[in-house]
């Protein structure tokens, strides 16, 4: 196992860089970046125009290797740390749409993504670390309307070393319900996601227990909310 859990900046897979204009919050899903096509569902039914998933996590691991090879403690550490750190999943509805220059948009209110977008953007922000000085009076929530725009800048899905590259802008905007001081701003960055074989990618995501954080691995298309 080349890469297990480590700090950001240790051995990485794929690439991502983000800048943040949200007050006091960086965004660092930059440890492991990979993609896969969801060609078959859990019952192994084939999808003629499968969804394409790009996953970005702060934790570092090798998504090509079966995480089942880790000892229980290492896997528990990885799973727990993933939940405590930034992560992002982009789910493109159709492989045929993922082409150079293609643009995709998702709009969400809080954690509820609006139906009808062309990409499902599943954002997991690192939960607030709390201490004795954390008060409700000092808490400033994030603005609740979140618009994610993705532009594909390069794709080599048919090549020998397939990958997807793209730019991502996630904008936070206040709505009527938001507190007047709710943080507005954006997370702006880019990614390069090598494509990993579907079976091992889904197996690893299942082992990492990211259903709550990222809604992965994907369920059957018919049971998923359409993006």
């Amino acid at each position: 196992m080349a890469c297990v859990l480590a700090l950001a900046g240790a051995c990485r897979f794929g690439d991502a860089r983000f800048e943040s204009t949200l007050d006091g919050r960086a965004f660092e899903p930059t440890g492991t970046v990979f993609g896969y096509t969801d060609a078959r569902d859990g019952a192994l039914d084939e999808d003629d125009n499968p969804r394409v998933v790009v996953a970005l996590t702060w934790v570092v691991f090798d998504p090509r290797s079966d995480l089942d090879a880790l000892d229980g403690r290492s896997l528990a550490d990885l799973t727990h740390e993933l939940a405590l750190r930034d992560a992002l999943a982009l789910v493109f509805d159709r492989l045929s749409d993922v082409q150079d220059g293609a643009e995709f948009t998702s709009v969400a209110l809080g954690q509820e993504e609006q139906v009808g977008g062309t990409v499902s953007a599943r954002l997991h922000l690192a939960p607030e670390p709390l201490d004795a000085q954390s008060t409700y009076a000092d808490l400033v929530p994030l603005a609740s309307r979140r618009t994610t725009r993705v532009t594909i800048t390069d794709e080599t899905l048919g090549g020998d070393n397939p990958s997807i590259s793209g730019d991502v802008v996630i904008n936070f905007e206040r709505q009527e319900r938001d507190a007047g001081n709710a943080h507005e701003g954006e997370l702006r960055g880019s990614f390069v996601a090598p494509i990993v074989e579907e079976r091992v990618a889904e197996h690893n995501l299942a082992l990492l227990d990211v259903e709550d954080a990222l809604g992965l691995p994907l369920g059957p298309r018919a049971l998923e909310d359409a993006p």
Binding site: R73, A76, D77, T79, H80, E81, A83, L84, A108, L109, G110, Q111, E112, L125, A126, P127, E128, P129, L130, D131, A132, Q133, S134, T135, Y136, A137, L139, V140, P141, L142, S144, R145, Q175, R177, D178, A179, A182, H183, D212, A213
Partner: protein, 247 residues
């Protein structure tokens, strides 16, 4: 019969300082949910409204008090969910293998008025002024016998002081265990009293930690002493923070 140790503890309990004293057991079945105590005045909340996280000050009548007493060696000044995986696992295991007592949603205004408050667990259903969980571990050497499953908790406030960044409280908690219909005649019953006096803990941090402890204590109460250790794998309750709902 009151032991000398507990009698001394009660006698020496300072009125305004921090203290903790216990008296009684359940027919020889010991219960020591201390010395760690966490108490929080729940005066604020984060609501989710159409996806927005909205901090609100609860109305006076909606403010609550939560308390946790546990013999587990845990540090309430640390954010448990944010700890390393092995540390969190150890906290949950410790909670599940030591006596503990959780009281939730005590009406703060009524506690402040000095009202005696009561809650009952009967036939697995709780009712009353607040909710609670009596988590009993199976101590070494304890005789295996049924424990009365009808539980009545009474809280008698002695003092409450609230300030912007904290405050303090004191009171007495009495737990009475009785037989329920269908339990053997030699079922362990009895009365246990806990006298406490403590500073109120930081609201956000303590509520987050109680979200870890509560499922464990509720599981222990449901499981009983013989199976309480199975609660060492309980998942924390989700909480709301600036990012939304966090699990």
């Amino acid at each position: 019969m009151r032991s000398l140790t507990t009698a001394l503890l009660l006698a020496q309990l300072p009125v305004l300082g921090c203290g903790f004293g216990v008296e009684g057991d359940f027919d020889g079945f010991p219960f020591h949910p201390g010395p760690t105590m966490m108490a929080v005045a729940d005066r604020n909340a984060l609501l989710m409204q159409n996806g927005a996280v909205v901090p609100v000050r609860r109305a006076d009548g909606d403010q609550r008090l939560h308390m946790l007493f546990t013999a587990a060696p845990v540090d309430g000044a640390v954010h448990w969910s944010g700890a390393r995986a092995d540390e969190l696992s150890e906290i949950v295991r410790a909670l599940a293998t030591h006596d503990g007592l959780l009281l939730r949603d005590i009406p703060l205004a009524r506690f402040a008025r000095g009202d005696a408050l009561e809650a009952v667990l009967e036939e697995g259903q709780s009712s009353g002024d607040f909710t609670f969980a009596v988590g009993m571990a199976w101590p070494d050497g304890a005789v295996a016998r049924a424990i009365g499953s009808r539980v009545r908790l009474t809280v008698v406030p002695r003092a409450l002081e609230l300030s912007v960044r904290g405050g303090s409280l004191a009171g007495d908690i009495t737990i009475v265990r009785d037989r329920e219909a269908g339990q053997d005649t030699d079922t362990a019953t009895g009365r246990f009293t806990l006298r406490f006096s403590a500073a109120l803990d930081p609201e956000r941090l303590t509520e987050a930690n109680l979200a870890v402890a509560a499922p464990v204590l509720l599981c222990m109460q449901a499981a009983g002493p013989g199976l309480a250790a199975m609660c060492a794998h309980e998942e924390p309750e989700p909480i709301i923070d600036e990012t939304g709902v966090t699990r």
